[in-house]
Symmetry: C2
Subunit: 465 residues, 2 copies
């Protein structure tokens, strides 16, 4: 991409023309802005990583098409990049390793041992890179992650060019990279301090595993550190009946009431799952301004339940949407997640009008960006916002006809329909080819690493290529 020449021999009027380096022209733009959600035959101009102009095709204010990269978006939908509000990126290493098991067996007999045996900065970096290429290839431009060795995930996201909020995991037991559990908060604090100014588009954070696996004082200190360092605080909350019962036995309280009694239920808290929230808890979350992330597919696959999405929305909560890690989903496709958010809400309420395509798309874009605290910068396509943009090829049999592009996106599309992906004005995927990553190399290295997983867990059926 060549920048404009602003030398003095140009007429004065042209000096006022903004520097444009990317134009997306001719598509159906889904802005996700309430006043004008859809612009047919639209045009977006991008300069310096920002959207500088958005409108109808034909209206442009750059000087010469030779100076800019032009993406032809005719027969395509242009939408804000998707925000995946909950992942454990490196768990892509364990995709399909252990399915169709009870959650406790899955976690304690399969995933935890595999993590203990295999995780180190190198494996987390590689598996996070695999997750990043999967996310880019399916239209995610920003992800919120919580795991161990999170510095390795930070480096992977940086290499991939993705926007992210990456949280170091804290659990009150020996964990990968944190053999002494008494050091867990120090490790997390150090991570945040080291990485706080490392990237313009990636921010560090802290992720406490759950109120059951972290002591009260750990939760409180973690929350304090997050507020002191001005980073978000993630937690798994009310994922399973078992966990809720455990906590009630231990504390006598329902999960949200418990968090509130610790003084940590506030605007800085991002709670994930929320399957067993009752109305009292939902209203308290809304009142305190805490954030919720909805993870429908993982909650289905582990048979945890269907979170009360419509109740949350009625209370004024605007949840983000997340895929969870690949060990419990088993992909990072936000399109199928949108579809499932809508369909599970319908089935849980026996009401097909309970949740519609537009709301599902908002969860994955504008609402998600607000959960991330990034709604001033991303989540809608508007002038002045960051150019985090996804382009979907709609000239495909399963996306035809197109009466309502939002319907087709949520109910008919899948991640593989994503053609181009742009983050902060940088094109990461173009015509489904990566511009600077080599997914083949990453997949080859993953194959070698997966062979080690199989060696450590010999009960795994070996039948893959």
């Amino acid at each position: 991409m060549v920048s404009f020449d602003f030398s003095n021999d140009r007429p004065v009027i042209e000096d006022k023309v903004p520097r444009v380096n990317l134009v997306i022209d001719g598509g159906t733009i889904i802005t996700m802005v309430d006043d004008e959600p859809v612009i047919s035959q639209g045009r977006i101009e991008v300069s310096g990583g920002l959207i500088t102009k958005i409108g109808k095709s034909g209206e442009h204010n750059f000087r010469s098409k030779d100076d800019v990269e032009i993406i032809d978006a005719r027969n395509a939908i242009v939408m804000p990049g998707l925000v995946n509000c909950h992942t454990h990126a490196a768990m892509s290493l364990f995709r399909g390793l252990a399915d169709d098991l009870p959650l406790k067996t899955w976690l304690f007999e399969k995933i935890f041992p595999a993590e203990a045996a295999l995780l180190d900065p190198k494996s987390v970096h590689l598996a996070s890179l695999l997750a990043c290429v999967e996310m880019i290839a399916s239209g995610t431009t920003c992800f919120m992650d919580g795991y161990f060795f999170e510095e390795a995930t930070f480096d992977a996201a940086k290499k991939a060019g993705l926007r992210a909020i990456l949280a170091q995991g804290v659990i009150d037991m020996p964990a990968p990279g944190v053999p002494d559990q008494n050091e867990n908060l120090n490790v997390a604090r150090n991570f945040v301090e080291r990485r706080q100014t490392d990237s313009n588009i990636i921010k560090p954070a802290i992720f406490c595993h759950s109120p059951v696996t972290c002591y009260a004082k750990t939760l409180q200190k973690a929350s304090e550190i997050c507020k002191e360092l001005k980073v978000p605080f993630f937690i798994h909350l009310s994922e399973t009946k078992w966990e809720v019962e455990q906590l009630r036995n231990k504390t006598g309280e329902k999960p949200v009431i418990y968090l509130d009694s610790l003084g940590i239920l506030d605007e800085n808290l991002i709670a994930v799952h929320g399957v067993y929230l009752d109305n009292e808890e939902i209203n308290l979350i809304a009142e305190k301004g805490a954030k919720i992330v909805h993870v429908p597919e993982s909650n289905m696959k582990l048979a945890s339940g269907i979170a009360p999405l419509t109740g949350m929305i009625l209370a004024g909560i605007r949840p983000g949407l997340g895929t969870d890690g690949c060990a419990s989903n088993n992909n990072l496709d936000m399109f199928s997640e949108m579809d499932m958010a809508a369909k599970t809400a319908k089935i849980a309420t026996s009401d097909p009008t309970a949740f519609n395509a537009m709301s599902a798309a908002k969860m994955a874009t504008s609402w998600g960006s607000a959960v991330a605290g990034l709604d001033k910068h991303i989540g809608t396509l508007q002038e002045g916002k960051c150019a985090d943009i996804v382009i979907i090829d709609t000239f495909q049999p399963h996306l035809r006809p197109c009466y309502d592009p939002l319907s087709n996106l949520v109910y008919s599309a899948n991640g593989s329909d994503v053609r181009d992906v742009i983050v902060e004005g940088k094109v990461l995927l173009r015509e489904r080819r990566f511009t600077h990553l080599d997914p083949l190399d990453i997949m080859k290295e993953i194959k070698t690493l997966a062979a080690k997983v199989e060696k450590h867990l010999p009960h795994v059926r070996i039948a893959g290529n």
Copy 2:
């Protein structure tokens, strides 16, 4: 594809070598045969539309590789073509036309009026062709359809090269192509008689819309005609609470008991949905040998409910899997349908072990082929069976690593991962390109037709490309 030369100057021993015209080599073969479900680095030979040999790569018995088309399946999964046991193919014309509405509003205020205004043999043919290219592109090789103007769908399937059982719709009210409802059974009978010997791989059938929308005598006569002409009899059954209540008010019976009282609950009956079946009904279906088709995504999207899949299986029923039409799903992707069959079974029972990836894959292949009455010919990859084969490209980020190919197929893949599709030995899709259909032409024609739909239903939001 060049046939072998069996001229006399070849040694005698070579004359015994079978004529092979297609070889699929090097893939992970998911046979769906219970004894040996997976063959790593396998090889399949195809001759005259049949699988003539299946085994490990390197074991072959054809004479010269120059004489055959060889498909390199390294880094790919090879599996039986998927059997979509319930569609209304031509309803692809109404994809995304009316979402997020109550079933009755959706059906009576949107879909029925659109059908009345737009359907004719030409539009049904074109929309069925669109469905066929979508099905081929997502790995379906056989589909079971019920709709109006079914002859047009028959011609479309024939042109597309798909295997199918296609049923003319019968309803006791004026319907597209059947303005006089008293003629509905004659139209259906004529269709079956005309098309019974028209194709080796497509069979006609009759589809009664439901026990609520067809009179008892219509159901009985339709069942008789089907048995006389030796074709299957389809029916929607127990899809919604409303429908079950209507029938109980009318007949005093639960749907299955009612069908049995009419004498039509037998091995020739293929009942679709079954959301509100109780144990008495499930056991009666099992006892009588009637077939069930599970349609989880459509049942979710219309908020009808989750069918008691695990109860059916416990009773010995082996349901097929279907997508339903594109107006209520909104795609024909059997991969997401497998995923949802497993996940909804888990969530409905609060048990993640309730239904596994293998069972989901069986529904879409071997069980589905038995529902279609075609299990001697398709549904598993075995010597002597028809070469209906799908090849999935697994060297993609969201399908890596691969500890268990069945898990990756059901929980991670989507229809767009299908690379090659073969029906009766004929390659319909190769490296995601259609060998003899032109999907662009079909999509362009659909655009014109969709504009007419919008004109007839001006409340439709017009925002597509």
